[in-house]
Amino acid sequence: MAEADEQHETDDEAGPVREWLTDDEGRKIESAIVAEQLDLRYPTSEEAVVECARLDIPEGEVTALVGPNGSGKSTLLKSLSNHLEPEAGTVTLHGRDVQSLDQDELAREMGVLSQENESPGSITVEDLAYHGRYPHRGFFESVSDEDHAAVDDAIEMAGVGHLRDTELGQLSGGQKQLAWIAMVLAQDTDVLLLDEPTTFLDLHHQFRVLETVRQLNEHEDVTVAVVLHDIAQAARFADNLVAMREGELYDWGPPEQVVTEQLLADVFGVEARVEYEPELQILPKRALSE
């Protein structure tokens, strides 16, 4: 596990500021996605919604974006997947600017699962999974053996094999989410971006989703960036955390270093006790006054 090389800049507003990650021997860790000098705003806003000097999503690791409501996590994720054009700054995927890539080229390298997904109620889980192969199929091409194999693997990994022929309209929220995950898995990408995949799910399905993502990362070396609401969950499943507050990055690094009682107070407005042995545990006590 790499440790962050700290270069402190005491800034009371933003917390400790770090430069890029290096491992024990001081080598720079490769980043799958790098965002620099980002200024993100929505068409209707006059000020920047997110401002970030540099963000790294390390290759082959699970990075979780955490922060309270309105901190800009989803906005940041949207810019990483080229769903939101930055007012200023660049986002590069494996060294190439995401805006310079063709839509389908990008889709072959990066899979994205949005927070809310809609579909005709009559589509089956299997049909939805096959849609994940869209970037790999030419206009006139029919379904190939490779497509069949990818879909089968995806459905098995997401654990919806028994729901293969069921219509999406008949599934529970958790099962539907797993079906969407199967679609994104079938896309067979090196990078996966997930926007709050567990927010509306029951506990069982929350774990299923995160376990699936974890397995994907461990067995297939897929880089994952996931926005999570629950910092305890994030600390448990992610290799790196990026904490955001009011549109800016507060801190980032491995969970043991990022999750401190100070962070929970500053960013989440919560007084909590944090224990590091035997494993990272967060015990919230009460909300702090504004």
Partner: protein, 375 residues
């Protein structure tokens, strides 16, 4: 793992062809049978009385079917060789009307299906993006004001519809469009053009012109013959072919723009191109039959209820169901009044019949379904 491997193989075969269901085939066969039956009725009955045997034997008579001069006349506008009254009426007057109905039904059905996917609204019709009001205004202006251009009416109507569509897209564009913006722009353009169209009516001083205008704006197959078939057959074939090719893209569009973009689709481009195909189809129908209402709205609905929402099936089904609806409606339009004892053999515009079918159909749907308006 051995057992899963063998099921994988059968699953592959299953999914490769699984969208082409037996249900779809049965539906298409039934639609074709209905079209043929209604077509035969159209050919056998009318103001020139002939027996059914006379009519059917004229249809299959080898002297006509195998005569290249005849087909030259029909398809290329050459001179028609001499023939007796019965075959002449059957082949030159009644049959082309059936063919025009088939072309109109297929194009309107497909156009409606595409627009329902592009606007993500089950209540969308081919006319939702301004085509009908643009065509209607063009027709009125030509008939009332620029009467010298009357011979070019079909092309002018189609052009009017296309211009209105371009205007709708331009209004809806703001760095891109969305289904909602398109529909709103369609309403804007539609209302303005519709009002102008009604205004032009007041400047018409000839009853014949007014009736002509009404026939155009309601949709009528009266007086259609091989000329309309020749006009429409190539654009219609083109539009239907591209609609079939684009059906898979529509399935992905239905997943929402964000998902479609995440999957690598250039959403704006695909949406515009498919709308263009739908406009071509609708304009073709308008050029030969006027603005026939409800067909483009009902056909995708019926097909969806029978074969499901997968657009690969929906498109094929619409190509078969559209003609069935149109030919049946045209039987009512042409012969319906004559069948009622207290009316004479007066023809009504087919748009009247489709409206009379469409209203009750939606009433039936509304009573049956819980959710309406969303696909």
């Amino acid at each position: 793992m051995a057992s899963t491997h063998s099921t994988d193989a059968t699953t592959d075969q299953r999914h490769g062809r699984s969208w082409f269901t037996g249900r779809l085939v049965a539906f298409c066969l039934a639609s074709t049978a209905l079209t043929a039956a209604a077509g035969l009725i159209q050919v056998s009955f009318g103001s020139y009385s002939m027996t059914i045997t006379q009519a059917w034997s004229a249809l299959v008579s080898p002297d006509i079917v195998l005569d290249p001069a005849v087909w030259n006349a029909f398809l290329l506008g050459g001179e028609l060789p001499e023939m007796d009254n019965v075959p002449l009426i059957v082949w030159n007057i009644r049959l082309p009307r059936v063919l025009v109905a088939v072309l109109t039904g297929a194009t309107l059905g497909v156009s409606g299906a595409i627009f329902q996917a592009v606007t993500r609204n089950e209540l969308a019709s081919p006319y939702i993006l301004g085509v009908s009001s643009g065509a209607g205004l063009a027709v009125l202006l030509t008939l009332v004001v620029f009467s010298g251009l009357a011979p070019f009416l079909p092309l002018i109507a189609a052009a009017g519809g296309t211009v209105a569509f371009a205007l709708v897209y331009a209004i809806a564009w703001k760095g891109g469009t969305s289904p909602v913006r398109l529909v709103l722009a369609g309403v804007i353009v539609g209302t303005v053009f519709q009002s102008l169209q009604t205004g032009v009516f007041f400047f018409a001083d000839d009853l014949g012109v007014v009736q002509s205008a009404i026939a155009w704006t309601t949709g009528s197959l009266t007086g259609t013959d091989w000329e309309q078939v020749r006009l429409a057959i190539l654009p219609a074939a083109f539009a239907l072919l591209f609609a079939l090719l684009g059906a898979r893209q529509l399935n992905v569009l239905l997943l929402g723009e964000r998902t479609a973009q995440s999957l690598g689709m250039r959403v704006e481009r695909v949406r515009f191109l498919l709308s263009g195909v739908a406009i071509l189809a609708a304009s073709t129908a308008i050029a030969i039959a006027g603005i026939v209402g409800f067909v483009g709205l009902i056909v995708p609905h019926v097909v969806r209820n029978v074969v499901g929402g997968d657009y690969r099936r929906l498109m094929i089904g619409s190509i078969f169901a559209g003609p069935a609806l149109m030919v049946v409606a045209d039987v009512g339009a042409r012969l319906g009044m004559g069948a009622l004892p207290w009316f004479g053999p007066v023809q009504v515009p087919v748009g009247v019949v489709t409206g009379l079918i469409g209203g009750p159909y939606f009433l039936y749907l509304m009573r049956r379904q819980q959710q309406m308006g969303e696909i």
